[in-house]
């Protein structure tokens, strides 16, 4: 389905932030902001939901914990009981202390990798994926605000453009996607 999208470009993140505040107070829905670096405090202004990545990290960590515990129990106790330093070799519980460092490391490994990979997938930025940003300059020193017409049915394209121009844009672009 064709959709009209307006891209407003700024050369200062504070100008963009103030502009976004002004637009949102008028009832405009801003769907996305592209920036070379994280803009502090932009999330609540444009209404980005709190990330759930932390919850996923916890779940990945639990998976790591379970895998490490199960794996070591199987390798060191069940399948081939190992006697290291004269420690009791037929019980996981009595040997648990020796396994904790590895359990900890594996938990961190799974949580960190799981979180990083999830992040890349959710943002569609896995290596080799096509770029999502509308203008390559947003990876350098420009900031782009994206406003979709379908999300702002109360306004016409020209209304939006007038409002955007008020906020100090340096370039305005309209695209059909």
């Amino acid at each position: 389905m064709a959709e009209t999208v307006i891209y407003a470009m700024y050369d200062d993140d504070d100008v963009l932030k103030n502009g976004a505040k002004k637009l949102v107070s008028k009832g405009v829905k801003i769907s996305e902001v592209f920036s070379p670096f994280p803009i502090h405090g932009i999330d609540p202004i444009i209404g980005v939901k709190q990330t759930r990545l932390g919850i996923m990290a916890f779940i990945y960590g639990l998976i790591g914990l379970t895998l490490a515990t199960y794996g070591m129990r199987f390798f060191m106790i069940d399948d081939w009981p190992m006697n290291i330093g004269g420690k009791p070799s037929f019980s996981y519980m009595e040997n648990m202390l020796a396994f904790i460092p590895i359990t900890f490391e594996f938990t961190v490994l799974c949580a960190a990798h799981g979180m990083a990979i999830t992040y890349l997938i959710v943002n569609k930025t896995l290596p080799g994926m096509p770029a999502q940003n509308p203008d390559p300059r947003t990876t350098d020193d420009k900031f782009v605000m994206e406003v979709r017409l379908s999300e702002n049915t109360a306004f016409s394209a020209s209304d939006l453009e007038v409002m955007l121009k008020d906020t100090g844009v340096i370039e305005l672009d309209q695209k059909e996607i």
Partner: protein
């Protein structure tokens, strides 16, 4: 805004002290005739003096750390940290009393500090102990007192300096004081990095005089830091609830909550590192410490580890929990008790051994010290504006957002 102690807080602190002293008196009356009465009493003064002294010291360390790292966010809670550090003069006095009474009773007749008993150095006595005799170059009363006085004097001098400059900054402003604090903060950390280990070797580890652990200093220090952060977050929340500290927002609370969370992990890590290495190597002279505590204090020792590790980990993990006053207070109260038990097991394990029990004496004295601690800290807070006036990072701190 000037802080005034609420009448309720006055009542609570006075009744804590009065109730504690009454319980202590009852306890003393009951146990007067026990053969280990003096050991028990003096162990408890050491436990409580050290525990509350270390909260003040932890606050001083944290303050110095903020100065040395030129941190910005903490400016609005700086006076609260100073209020906690302001317990130091009283804490130092308590430590001196506790150590002095132990010293003149020969380490409570050699039950608390075995090495203070002159018999262990006497070859003809049946108490003669070759290992302690070998350590006598370091562990003798004269050198012990020289070290103790050096530690306490250093802490006191740095506390006085930080406090004086902090109040001066309110009057004159500028950045000169800031850079002076930066240098002094770094210097304090250098002293503290050595003294934090050696002082607890002297005061606590020498109770189990045959045993030694290099990690012991850091372990105790981590517990001290964690307690301080917990007390700090509870105190800030209390002041906020009373309507003070208007500039402190959720982000500051969140940050101190993170410190609580992180230092709980630091402490657990130290506990585990010390425990696991000794367990793995299984050398007789090292493992005695744990064997004794596992046999005689099993529930308390592992229970204390469990609450100090699992409670903050599971409850404070999420972002929302670290911004929630009731959750922070709940966890805070539990881990303060947990860390008190940690100090209790450290000292009592060596001095009282299997004869230890928590009764009127222990609880009464702890409550009395707690009342005194709260009262001194609150009184300190009344002496200066709760928000520093000319701190160079004040503006940054007011706009702190994470």
């Amino acid at each position: 805004m000037e802080f005034k102690i609420a009448n309720k807080a006055k009542l609570v602190t006075v009744s804590l002290m009065a109730g504690g002293l009454t319980m202590l008196a009852i306890g003393l009356f009951i146990h007067m005739g026990d053969h280990n009465f003096l050991t028990r009493l003096l162990s408890n003064t050491l436990i409580n003096s050290f525990f509350f002294f270390s909260i003040g010291l932890g606050a001083l360390f944290f303050l110095a750390l903020q100065y040395a790292t030129e941190t910005g966010w903490y400016a609005t809670v700086k006076r609260v940290i100073e209020g906690l550090a302001g317990f130091l003069p009283v804490g130092i006095l308590l430590m001196l009393v506790a150590l002095f009474t132990l010293s003149i009773t020969q380490g409570a007749h050699g039950h608390v500090y075995v090495w203070m008993n002159p018999d262990v150095y006497d070859v003809n006595s049946h108490h003669y102990d070759e290992i302690i005799d070998g350590k006598s170059g370091y562990l003798n009363q004269t050198f012990f007192w020289i070290r103790t006085l050096v530690y306490l004097a250093t802490y006191y001098i740095f506390y006085r300096g930080f406090r004086m400059r902090s109040l001066e900054e309110d009057r004159v402003g500028g950045t000169e004081i800031h850079f002076k604090n930066y240098r002094k903060g770094a210097m304090f950390l250098v002293f503290f990095s050595v003294f934090s280990s050696t002082s607890v070797w002297d005061w606590i580890m020498s109770i189990d005089v045959h045993w030694f652990s290099t990690l012991f200093g850091w372990y105790t220090f981590a517990g001290m830091w964690c307690t301080t952060m917990t007390v700090l977050v509870m105190l800030v929340l209390y002041l906020k609830k009373q309507g003070y500290l208007p500039k402190v927002n959720d982000s500051h609370i969140h940050d101190i909550g993170k410190w609580t969370f992180a230092t709980s992990f630091l402490w657990s890590y130290m506990f585990f590192s010390q425990f696991m290495l000794i367990w793995y190597a299984n050398i007789g002279e090292e493992s005695t410490y744990y064997i004794q505590r596992i046999e005689e204090y099993q529930l308390m020792y592992f229970g204390m580890f469990f609450i100090n590790f699992a409670f903050p980990m599971l409850i404070l993990m999420s972002r929302d929990a670290k911004r929630n006053a009731s959750i922070l207070i709940f966890v805070g109260l539990i881990i303060v008790v947990g860390h008190w038990l940690d100090v209790y097991v450290m000292v009592s394990g060596g001095s009282m051994g299997a004869g230890a029990s928590i009764g009127f004496v222990e609880i009464g004295m702890a409550l009395a010290f707690l009342g005194l601690f709260i009262r001194v800290v609150l009184t300190n807070l009344t002496k200066a504006p709760l928000t520093p006036i000319n701190h160079p990072f004040l503006d940054e701190s007011i706009h702190h957002e994470i």
